[in-house]
């Protein structure tokens, strides 16, 4: 932390997407944050958000923290089967929620459960062979983005991992980064980030999202060496898919990336499985890795922590419930479904409700209002988050432990 007059420069880790870029510089001037280096649209939105309302509310009316906590505890006590949803927080916050859930017969469900479940279904069915960002940066010679442009979810993926400066500051150990082949498969993709520094365009197999199951199945078959009789698949010439298959087979280290959230159609897990099984076939003769990207709102963190704490991953099963505790530390615009059940929100201070919940307790945001810990989307890397500004918001674990104390 460098101080000059009243401006502090802080090197922070950005929790706004699953990449957790830790090279972001922000300045704090009179407790207002401005991203000064290595920002992206998401990180600017995150860090530069104004400090919101810090007063808790009961049914829309200002209340003390003590009263709001008491009311939240009352609701949880009356409920037979509460649901803790949203779950957007860091490790410490999740641990606190998990403990409270143990004491209240509660089901836990993350706001990104639907997308996460697509990946989990594959992991629990066949498993997979994956890689991580530093491996991609140093080894990948062919990168295929399937059903996603990545940058909509992870804006700095190409800047930080793919197109490197080839200098002392940014380079690849085992391959010429700027000679990498980038291939997209899908529709409505922003392929601009895939243009190499020397101006080479990426290739695109254009198909509708709903055709991805078929296109990935054919790619898998061709990589396996199975003949495909038709000349066209979902409007793409089979020979074009064959060309991609050949590139993958001759690559030294092919990376097949997807974002589960973007594969938003029924049984998308089968598309993901086509991708991961293509990787497994490639790994019989050469090297390749799957790369599940995306991630937001602490989804990887909640899922991993729940897994070691309970022995099981979080899931998206719909369960009967009679009250909801919605936890949302990072994205004020994400609101719980309005279903007329008693609702407690422990959320970002900037949250604006259409219908005021029974209880709203604004909480501190990890990585902005207090230090924390978060898992990166590729799951092997866990990074500390830093505090960048001062305020009086309580942390999630503080609020949860106060609620828990009332339940005794």
């Amino acid at each position: 932390m460098h101080t000059s007059n009243s401006i502090q420069l802080i090197n922070v880790t950005c929790p706004a997407c699953g990449l957790l870029c830790d090279d972001v510089l922000v300045e704090n001037k009179n407790n207002k944050i401005k991203v000064s280096k290595n920002g992206c649209a998401k990180s600017i939105t995150f860090f530069e958000q104004k400090l919101g309302e810090i007063t808790p509310k009961i049914a829309g009316k200002p209340a003390t923290l003590v009263h709001a906590v008491a009311q939240a505890a009352r609701i949880l006590k009356q409920a037979k089967r509460p649901l803790f949803a949203g779950l957007s927080t860091d490790v410490t916050g999740f641990r606190a929620l998990f403990n409270l859930a143990q004491k209240t017969n509660t089901t836990l469900q993350h706001m990104n459960a639907t997308g996460t479940q697509r990946n989990l279904a594959v992991l629990q069915s066949t498993g997979w062979q994956t890689t991580t960002l530093t491996e991609v940066k140093n080894r990948a010679d062919v990168i295929v983005c399937i059903g996603t442009d990545v940058v909509t979810n992870n804006p700095r993926f190409f800047e930080r991992i793919v197109w490197l400066k080839n200098n002392k500051k940014s380079n690849s150990m085992f391959t010429d980064a700027n000679a990498r082949e980038v291939i997209y498969i899908g529709e409505k993709l922003n392929t601009k980030a895939g243009i190499s520094p020397s101006g080479r365009n990426p290739s695109l197999l254009a198909c509708r999202t709903s055709d991805l199951p078929e296109v990935t199945a054919v790619l898998r078959a061709l990589v396996l060496g199975k003949p495909v009789k038709s000349d066209k698949v979902a409007g793409i010439k089979t020979e074009e898919i064959q060309a991609v298959a050949d590139k993958l087979k001759t690559a030294k280290y092919a990376v097949l990336a997807w974002v589960a959230k973007d594969l938003d159609y029924p049984h998308a897990e089968l598309t993901i499985q086509n991708i991961t099984e293509t990787v497994a076939i490639l790994n019989q003769t050469t090297r390749a890795g799957g790369l599940p990207l995306g991630g937001s709102d602490g989804d990887t963190t909640a899922n991993y922590a729940n897994t070691w704490l309970s022995g099981l991953a979080l899931n998206d099963k719909q369960v009967e419930h009679d009250a909801i505790l919605w936890v949302n530390s990072f994205s004020p615009e994400k609101l719980p479904a309005n279903n007329h059940l008693p609702l407690i929100v422990l959320g970002d201070a900037n949250t604006k409700f259409k219908t005021e919940p029974e209880v709203f307790i604004p909480i501190a945001t990890p990585g902005l209002d207090y230090s924390g810990t978060l898992f990166r989307v590729d799951s092997s890397v866990v990074l500390p988050l830093k505090k960048c500004r001062e305020n009086k918001l309580p942390t999630l674990s503080e609020v949860v432990s106060q609620i828990e104390a009332q339940l005794k």
Binding site: D22, T132, K137, R139, N171, Y304, L309, T373, S380
Partner: protein, 558 residues
């Protein structure tokens, strides 16, 4: 407040006590000398006839970190049996699959209920160390610690291939220990995890990693020397090349010579003791391995015993786990390349007593246990969960202590496997004293835990008390009392108080200049900053639940 444990039979090999009846006094978490008459004894436990040992220490058990958590995530079916109620519950055994992927709470509880007061995670990927410590931080009841994996990370391989001097290697090793809050250094398939990323499929001890042009032998020499010179108590923890492959015993024998006499620990040696004799080209080389272990005094080993049932194998050895994935049961697996640091391979496995290879693996482990003469140099592990869940230790102890029980089990094995094993000709039965060496005194000495694993004055009062029973499995499964740091935490095999234990580390000094080059390397090639790689003491003890115990080593001359 003083607690008196009266008239117990002491099995305390660190002080050569083999069943002598004595009293133990505890104050402030430690064992103290007999206090003066004027001091008040707050509580007394009459232990007449009871067996008293220090708390057991598992020196190799995968209890935390990426691999284990992926195993939990991939195998929800393992947890189904946990929820069984009667009548199904009665068939739940210590090697039920839910014990293969326990939650952190379950892991801590099951360990302490068996009288284990510490367990060490043997394969912390440095880049993933924060996760490992988060999980171990959520593991109650026991002390923890871990070994950081080196030898397949590109930073080290670059140093070695550039012929960096030993001091540079030592600084990097010491820096890694501090950054990852570990107590030892491990190498898994030296050079092989890296080689697999360059599409090499096997790597022998004297074969080059195709990119770096360095051999596993050079890696072992370099790392074992660093560990030795830095004065790290725990010898380099070595998972040899060629894990699980028929004929791998020669690699294992040659590996013993790779450090030129500098101490090394060969882990889960059962998986590295296979010959190629017989019709099935898979045989026991336990005799050769045991003979070499008896002869090579600088080598220690843990067994990695397999026991029959469903479990999951989790290893950093992607090269060999990728080969093993075709044997997965249930049929799924995860193979990961991780961060130019190491790898991760998770393959579920079901060991069957009617399967020739599995039956022989079982016998090979026991042959090694019974043929290695010095219990101070061989350790009781199942490489949890790779050979079996750690909850099967009481069963394993009975196999070692009870020849009749062992031979009965042997008689049920695959007949071809029986024909290929000399197990029934091994008449040895481990004594309580030898079990205490293997699971307490020896393990503490190996890791360098000076105040654990024994019952002398000044020791931490981690103490386990058993009823002496002929059925050693029943005896070791359910101690009468377990004390953790002087507090009674288990009574009649059940937890009566929840405590959190400490994390043991060692932090040899190093030239801080090592960070200059590392910092440039991280900026250029990695995807996080060096400062975020390092785990601070504050992170380890956050929320007041975690404790850190740093063990000082003593640097040794070159």
């Amino acid at each position: 407040m003083i607690t008196l444990l009266k008239n117990g039979k002491m099995y305390d090999p660190a002080h050569n006590k083999n069943g002598v009846v004595e009293d133990i006094y505890i104050r402030d978490g430690c064992i103290i000398a007999k206090p003066s008459q004027t001091e008040k004894i707050a509580q007394t436990f009459n232990l007449t006839g009871k067996v008293v040992m220090a708390g057991a220490i598992d020196m190799h058990s995968h209890i935390g970190g990426g691999k284990v958590n992926i195993a939990r995530m991939m195998l929800p079916e393992f947890q189904e049996t946990k929820g069984y109620s009667e009548p199904e519950a009665h068939i739940c055994t210590p090697n039920c699959s839910h014990n293969a992927t326990p939650s952190t709470t379950d892991a801590g509880f099951r360990y302490i209920e068996m009288g284990y007061t510490a367990a060490f995670e043997p394969a912390i990927l440095p880049i993933n160390a924060r996760q490992a410590h988060l999980e171990m931080g959520d593991t109650p009841m026991i002390d923890k610690g871990g070994y950081a994996m080196l030898g397949n990370d590109d930073y080290f391989l670059r140093l070695l291939s550039q012929k960096a001097d030993q001091k540079a290697i030592n600084d990097y090793v010491a820096w890694t220990l501090a950054a990852t809050q570990a107590i030892g250094i491990k190498v898994v398939n030296p050079g092989g995890i890296s080689a697999f990323k360059f599409n090499q499929r096997r790597l022998d001890l004297d074969e080059n990693n195709s990119h770096y042009q360095v051999t596993p032998r050079e890696i072992l020499k370099s790392l074992s020397t660093a560990v030795h010179q830095l004065g790290i108590a725990k010898p380099l923890h070595v998972h040899c090349n060629n894990l699980g492959a028929a004929g791998n015993f020669e690699t294992t024998l040659n590996t013993m010579g790779a450090s030129d006499g500098i101490p090394m620990h060969l882990t889960h040696i059962q998986f590295h003791s296979y010959g190629t004799e017989g019709d099935k080209k898979f045989s026991s080389a336990a005799a050769q391995i045991s003979e070499a272990l008896n002869k090579n005094k600088h080598i220690t080993a843990d067994v990695g015993q397999i026991l029959f049932g469903q479990t999951v194998t989790a290893s950093g050895d992607t090269m060999m786990q990728h080969l093993n994935a075709k044997h997965a049961s249930p049929k799924k697996s995860v193979i990961m390349d991780v961060e130019c640091d190491a790898g991760c391979g998770v393959v579920p496995f079901k060991y069957k007593d009617k399967n020739y290879v599995n039956a022989l693996q079982w016998a090979i482990g026991l042959e090694i246990f019974l043929s290695v003469e010095d219990p101070w140099r061989i350790f009781l592990t199942t490489d949890h969960p790779n050979g079996a869940p750690f909850t099967s230790y009481p069963h394993l102890i009975r196999l070692l202590m009870d020849k009749g029980f062992r031979n009965e089990a042997f008689a049920k094995l695959n007949l071809d496997a029986q024909a290929m094993s000399n197990l029934t000709s091994l008449n040895r039965e481990y004594s309580l004293y030898e079990i205490a060496v293997m699971t307490r005194a020896g393990a503490a000495k190996l890791i360098g835990l000076n105040d654990r694993g024994h019952l002398g004055v000044g020791a931490a009062a981690d103490i386990t008390i058993y009823t002496d029973q002929p059925d050693r499995e029943a005896m070791f499964a359910k101690p009468d009392y377990v004390f953790k740091d002087g507090e009674l935490v288990v009574k009649d095999g059940k937890v009566v108080k929840v405590v959190w234990g400490a994390t043991h580390t060692t932090k040899p000094t190093f030239d801080k200049g090592v960070e200059k080059d590392l910092s440039e390397y991280f900026e250029k090639y990695h995807t996080i900053q060096l400062d975020n790689f390092k785990i601070s003491d504050d992170e380890m003890i956050e929320d007041g639940r975690g404790k850190l115990v740093n063990h000082k080593g003593k640097a040794r001359a070159n």
